[in-house]
């Protein structure tokens, strides 16, 4: 029995030493930190797993539909596209030009240059439109677009008078025609290129 006593004492002494080490403030803090971290990790994992959503098939993208077109119709619309781009950009430049002129951010000379450029583009667009041969089904749309470009040209001519007599009232007088034209262009544009201006 005595043989075992020193061994038992040694073991007790080691255990006490370990306990002392274990109980030291530094170890205690470190231990608590470790337990805390494990706890946070476990909580986060459980939460993430509980929040996981059941995958469902991806919804189809929101995209407008357009009735199927015949090859002739498609060709016509393709041919109209570059004209449409030019006309819209010119209209935007002259609209914003007038706004920025009124806010003194654009000079009269700069506005005049924009109007002159627009007149050239509207003239070119009108020529291009007349050269197109719309299928019977799209003849009305073609006519609407042609009318719109003519209105834009007339509006620009009216606005240009300001540079001769200096009267800004010409801009106001020119406005109804450009507004009507923009409505018509949007109408045809929305029909031919429904994804042109998606929701923002």
């Amino acid at each position: 029995m005595d043989v075992g006593r020193p061994a038992a004492e040694t073991m007790m002494s080691r255990a006490s030493g370990l306990l002392h080490l274990w109980m030291s403030p530094r170890t205690l803090v470190l231990g608590l930190l470790a337990v805390g971290l494990v706890g946070v990790l476990a909580f986060a994992t459980t939460r993430e797993m509980s929040r996981a959503v059941t995958p469902v098939p991806a919804p189809p993208p929101v995209r407008p539909t357009r009735p199927a077109l015949s090859p002739v119709e498609e060709t016509f619309i393709q041919a109209l596209r570059p004209i449409h781009g030019d006309v819209q950009r010119s209209l935007m430049r002259t609209s914003l030009g007038q706004i920025l002129y009124k806010t003194n951010d654009l000079s009269r000379a700069e506005l005049k240059t924009r109007m002159e450029q627009a007149l050239v583009i509207y003239g070119r667009a009108e020529t291009g439109l007349r050269a197109l041969e719309p299928p019977a089904s799209l003849r009305n749309d073609h006519e609407i677009y042609l009318t719109a470009v003519r209105l834009l040209r007339e509006s620009a001519v009216e606005a240009m008078k300001m540079f001769n007599d200096g009267r800004e009232e010409h801009l106001l007088a020119a406005y109804p025609k450009s507004q009507e034209a923009s409505d018509k262009i949007r109408e045809v544009g929305g029909k031919f290129w429904p994804s042109e201006f998606p929701p923002n």
Binding site: R63, R89, M92, S95, L172, S182, E187, K191, P194, F197
Partner: protein
């Protein structure tokens, strides 16, 4: 003794010197002194938190306003990720209202924040839309007189927020100069290196006539897109008739009604509207605040012109302006999917607009002494009407 005092003085002086030097080099995000603003910030687009808080103090001494929200239309079945990239993994769709704010002043005059849309062609073509109703009819149906609209503050000029302007010929619009200048800037962008992509009004390459970018992106990646000539024309009409205030940064519309710039929070010239009410400061944000949950959870909106950092700074403006009462609950979003439900508490007091084609209204707050516009038995049955309206040439 003297030596000790000298040592202490020297140490204190050194600390003060180091502190002063350190301070001089610090670039503080909320410092509005020249040379101290964050990079890429226009002076007119920047407001320090101190200035915002001063606006709160000033507004609190101003009259109280009433406010409503109406749903101009609703985008249906939008992929969640297309609205908030962080939600793309959910693989679900959401329905997004297009909201217009109506604010009544102490004099009974009305201010609109955004004006919805009226381009019927869009609704016809975007046949996933629902519930459109003209704003004048909506106002009449909820007991507000559209003839009393004297101001329209445009949060930004995209077509779904700046339509119907000609419906209010006597109203003055408020728009940021930066909003207009940026469209003009990009319209004139060189085409040498980008095939015209940057300056494309639409999806058409100005040089080749070809589709720009993948079709599913449409024009969403081009800065000019979102502004059809028709919408810009309507703004021009207001300018030419003397009914436009082109503002540059912060602008007090009336006591308790303040415009705050949120440049690049959605578009280059986006603007917020602070409104003094009995529930604290409301902050209308248009698409800069596209989603209220986005503000609450700090989620960025989908990529267009939006600069994520600027959008977060605009969220922060709402947190500052509403810091005295209700915090982010007073931020008013344009497309919040949970709008007109209890989940978006500000809009919980909602009802279907009578004969409103399923569009909804919410009474946000009333000024003291004002009578409610909520019907005694409000119809709260959610409905959808996807019938295509007439396809006409009207704007």
């Amino acid at each position: 003794m003297i030596q000790t005092l000298l040592r202490i003085t020297t140490i204190l002086a050194l600390i003060a010197l180091v502190g002063g030097l350190g301070r001089a080099d610090v670039l503080r995000a909320d410092d509005d002194r020249d040379g101290k603003r964050p990079p890429q910030t226009l002076p007119s687009g920047f407001e320090s938190t101190d200035r915002l808080l001063r606006d709160v103090e000033r507004a609190e001494r101003a009259p109280l306003y009433s406010a409503w929200l109406v749903e101009s239309s609703r985008f249906m079945d939008v992929p969640f990720g297309g609205f908030q990239p962080d939600k793309a993994g959910l693989n679900t769709t959401v329905n997004l209202p297009v909201n217009v704010g109506i604010i009544e002043g102490p004099d009974g005059k009305l201010t609109l924040y955004d004006s919805g849309w009226k381009q019927l062609a869009y609704i016809f073509d975007w046949n996933t839309s629902c519930c459109w109703k003209g704003i004048r009819d909506q106002m009449t149906a909820i007991g507000l007189d559209p003839a009393k609209v004297t101001r329209i503050v445009l949060g930004h000029a995209h077509w779904d927020h700046a339509g119907q302007l000609s419906e209010f010929p006597n109203a003055v619009i408020y728009i940021q100069k930066e909003e207009l200048k940026q469209i003009d800037f990009f319209l004139h962008y060189p085409v040498d290196f980008n095939s015209g992509h940057i300056r494309a009004v639409n999806t058409v390459d100005p040089l080749t006539g070809a589709q720009v970018g993948p079709p599913e992106q449409a024009c969403a990646r081009t800065p000019v897109c979102g502004y059809p000539p028709q919408t810009v024309q309507e703004i021009l009409g207001k300018v030419l008739s003397g009914k436009a205030r082109i503002v540059d940064g912060r602008h007090e519309v009336a006591p308790g009604l303040v415009i705050h710039p949120a440049f690049r929070g959605h578009t280059y010239g986006s603007q917020l509207l602070q409104v003094n009410t009995a529930r604290g400061q409301l902050v209308f944000g248009s698409d800069t605040y596209s989603s209220w949950t986005g503000i609450r959870d700090w989620l960025v909106a989908k990529i267009q012109q939006t600069d994520a950092v600027q959008q977060f700074l605009a969220y922060e403006k709402c947190y500052v302006l509403t810091s005295r009462l209700n915090s982010f609950n007073n931020c008013v979003a344009a497309h919040e999917p949970t709008a007109y439900t209890n989940a978006y508490p500000l809009t919980a007091n909602w009802w279907n607009i009578p004969n409103g084609n399923c569009s909804r209204a919410a009474e946000l707050i009333l000024a003291p002494g004002k009578t409610t516009h909520v019907p005694a038995s409000p119809n709260k049955t959610l409905c959808e009407n996807r019938t295509k309206p007439p396809h006409t040439v009207s704007p």
